[in-house]
């Protein structure tokens, strides 16, 4: 596979990259881990005039404090998967990161790159939506913070301006009360392939095992990575009885707007959604109660 001709700038530092993007706008594409852009270049589906390489820049550390967790955009999937700060906060990130692609992809691909790509089947997108994360987007014009739930606008389309880079992902602090548990499950046809359906759940249970709060992120089940706030509202404040779970699953199934592609039909995705949601919800609840779970959908 041979890309079309492009110019290449290896950014000297983050601000340099922002300056180049400001100068070239839509004609430039940033290159971080290259796990989406490089195949697109090789298939000639992307033909930017300029590639700005930021993959080698210092990654920074994942930091947790009273304001939550900050994940630098250049964090590799494999780093996130093993990051103790994240592991302590939620199992959801490890579930999601460890099922992306294969080990080589996970050592190259970045969190920021995956979000900016906005693949509807993105594992990170679903996981971070469930966690109500925000992205800090920077340009020479300044920085702004966008909730991920408003960030994805359609397939491969985001609120990111052409001169902006995702600098950081921010996960809000965990609630001080209640027990939390997170889980991500996906159906994939084969190790390393894209999700056919993926559901992320971050759950907070109170002492009576009522759902104090829940975040739901969906992958490959609609035109863009999305939450389901109606289902979240239905469960919030209710005990997680079998009936409540069944109601939530049925509602989620009715509300899906799945698509057909070479991997699966919309009809099948509509059937998978509630099943995967139920299993993810049970895993999250199990974890909230301190139990071990199998991080495979089946």
């Amino acid at each position: 596979m041979y890309p079309a001709r492009f110019d290449y700038i290896r950014a000297e530092h983050w601000e340099h990259a922002l300056e180049v993007l400001a100068q070239h706008g839509v004609e430039a594409r940033p290159l971080a881990g290259g796990q989406s852009l490089v195949p697109l270049l090789k298939l000639r589906l992307a033909q930017p005039r300029l590639v700005v390489d930021i993959g080698h820049l210092p990654r920074g550390a994942v930091v947790a404090d009273g304001s939550g967790i900050r994940i630098p955009a250049l964090t590799r999937h494999a780093d996130a998967e093993r990051e103790p700060v994240l592991g302590l906060a939620t199992s959801l990130v490890e579930d999601a990161a460890s099922h992306i692609g294969d080990p080589q992809i996970r050592h190259m691909g970045t969190v920021g790159g995956a979000l900016a790509e906005a693949d509807p089947s993105g594992d990170w997108s679903a996981a971070l939506i469930a966690l109500r994360a925000e992205v800090v987007c920077q340009s020479v014009r300044g920085a702004r913070t966008i909730p991920l739930r408003a960030f994805f606008q359609g397939p491969y389309s985001t609120a990111l301006a052409p001169d902006e880079l995702i600098a950081e992902v921010r996960i809000p602090p965990r609630p001080t009360a209640g027990r939390t548990g997170g889980a991500y499950l996906k159906v994939e046809w084969r190790a390393g392939s894209f999700a056919v359906a993926g559901v992320a759940v971050e759950l907070v249970l109170d002492e009576e095992r009522r759902c104090r709060d829940i975040g739901i992120g969906l992958a490959a089940l609609g035109p863009r990575p999305a939450a389901d706030e109606v289902v979240e509202a239905l469960l919030r404040g209710r005990p997680l009885t079998d009936d409540a779970v069944a109601d939530a699953c049925a509602l989620l199934g009715r509300r899906l707007e799945p698509y057909s592609d070479t991997r699966a039909s919309a009809e099948y995705r509509r059937a998978l959604g509630p099943v995967v949601f139920e299993r993810t919800l049970r895993n999250a609840a199990q974890r909230a109660l301190g139990g071990e779970v199998d991080a495979r959908v089946w």
């Binding site: 079309a4 195949p39 046809w189 084969r190 070479t262 099948y268 959908v297 089946w298």
Partner: protein, 806 residues
Amino acid sequence: MKAGVVHIERKAGTERREDEEILAARVRYAADEDPPGTLHAAIYRSPYAHARIRGVDLTRALGLPGVVYGLTARTLPPYAKPMSPFPFQTTDPFLQGNPTIKFFPHYGLASDKVRFVGEPVAVIVAEDRYVAEDALELIDAEYDPLPAVVDEELALTPESPVVYEGWGDNVMLRFRVAGGDADRAFAAADMVLREKIKSHRFAATPIEPRAILARYDPGSHTLDLRDSTQIPHVIATVLEASLDIPHLKVRVRSSPVGGGFGTKWGFYPEEWLMAVLAVAVRRPVRWVELRREHLVASSHAREQTHFIEMALTRDGRILGIRDRILANAGAAYPQGAAATIITTAMFVPGAYKVEHYEATVLGVATNKAPFGAHRGFGKAEAAYVIERMMDIAAGALGLDPAEIRYRNFIPPQEFPYVSATGARYDSGNYAEALRRCLDLLEHDRWRAEQRRRRERGVPGPLLGIGFALALEPSSATRMNSYNAGYFSVTMRVDPGGRVFVFSSGNDEGQGHATAAAQLLQQELGVEPDSVVYVEGDSLLCPYGSGSYSSRFSIVGTSAVIGAARRLRAKILRIASYLLRRPQEDLAVEAGGVVSRSTGERITLRDVARAAYLRLWELPPDEDPGLDVAYHYRDPNVGLVVDRNGRVAMFSSYPYTADGAVVEIDPDTGLLRILRYVSVHDCGRVLNEAIVVGQHLGALAHGIGGALYEELPYDAGGQPLHQTFVDYLVPTAREIPDIILDHLMTPNPFTPAGLKGTGETGTVSPPPVFANAVEDALRPLGVKVRALPLRPERIWRYMRTASGQGG
């Protein structure tokens, strides 16, 4: 994946000789060849499945800096003749009109029409591949799109578009084979089953794609092709016949090849094109296939629809079979398609004693990629159909699927067995293989567990058990084709005592050098380090048809043994003279010859020095030199087809009895393999590491075909799986631990008792999993009608059965 229960002793000195260089990346594959001055070719391929070409204008492309040359069908140089047909040479009266095969003059570039997406239309040569690819985007081609036909049944209807107008219809090949009296058998039947069974299109996907470096030396008229092919001599011959150049000599060097699996058994447009280009530009021209090109435009396989009828007695004995087979041959420059399709018709009866059989097969041209060779070559399709039918028949008669097989297997005492299609099965013990398979599978325990779950209505995973006896006839010989039943070896000992073996084989990873060295240790008493094994060079090596059909272990090893014995006779004659001992007293061992009675010994080097340097030490009537040529003629194949299409086309009949226990998630259709057993018989095992490696690799390949891999097209003829993102080759995680066992019934027709190895494993998993899934869904009354068994397909079966449509 790991293998358990391997009942073979590991012998010292059988380690593969090839691996160290491969693993250390010191081996140079065709794509590593890039001498100074090389030009790079990129091929402009049809975006349409079927269209008339109005014009292809290269003006803008040729104007791009760095572009050196370009060709379309209209601008071919005068020496470019049509590609010589392969493997059958022409429609020949020798074939007695059965099969009939249609040919057409094919120039490697489409001229009047394009017939599949990916068909070469033009080629650009440039200083580097990037520029060549850029130039493709500047080609101005105009087409009038035509309706496409992709389905083999629709292609036979009168309304169908015709792929090759000159043929009048889409029938590329017609063949009929009949033995016994099928009409009488059906008249006597208690029950007749009629089924439509389809096997799906997938492909071999070797790690190394195709790659060619062509060079032409006008001084010596030599065209040198470094080509990742399985058949170097044949490519040299067909290229010479396809180029009108006086005094032309073609040399094809293939070795090493990074996997072939049948894909590189063929004469491709790209080989012809690179040869034409190298002569035109007088510089080396290189083309390395892109994975996307490989998936849309090399060759595909397996796609067939069978309309099969089986006549049975009440107690499950097969009286006769009739089959009507439609093979979707794609846009067919008749390559592997014809031979594959004929092969399927020959082997639908499989491992069963079917005395009355009749099959007609049509090779149907469609607007899909050409059908070619693929590990399992036609036999996989046949095995799939018969092994599905055995389960369906068992169900219809209320018999156990193992029991109906035991009642119909060809019994061990009837070997060699001549089938209704004239095939001569060498040896086997099918019932024993299936019994061992079911034992290792713990069949009875799982069957009891299945009964328990069903009787108690246990919710949760659905348990299924499936098995199959897959026959994989090996070492094909076809009348008046480039696949004749022989194998050539020349062998010489040099004055230093080293043994040089020049073989007509071709190694794509099998380990021929290792196997040959082992045989020479047995036959000549030489250490592996003193053996130099050469193949894959049409100039250096004796003529032959390369690698296909698992033939090296059958005819290749036999030729090595034959040559070694011929050489040994001369060694002993010379040694007898040197040692003054009768030949009967001498033995070859440990790099020399020893007298059994006196213990006196001389080295092979002493013998060789007598033959080359010290002729006074030779017997007076002995020729100097120490080399031989040997051509092994396969004794177990026939060369003439009778008027009913019967012929012994294959030499040896390895098989495997495989079984699987699976669980299915009723909510998602996801499938889990709980246990997989393979009991394999490839005759005597010469090298355990090679056999186990080949068989496990083949099983992974077969599991891929059963559960993951497919090459679907939309109705307009667009291929839907063009990269490995969509075409899912299984990874280590998908392949279960395999419980492997070997049964060894020696092949009585080869000196070493070997059969073919390396293909049976691709044949067994599709019927095993189809049977297992059908078994798991039996309470729903579902019939598995299509592969691969991706979860959505299984989910649809369950949904349809539970009346929710779909």
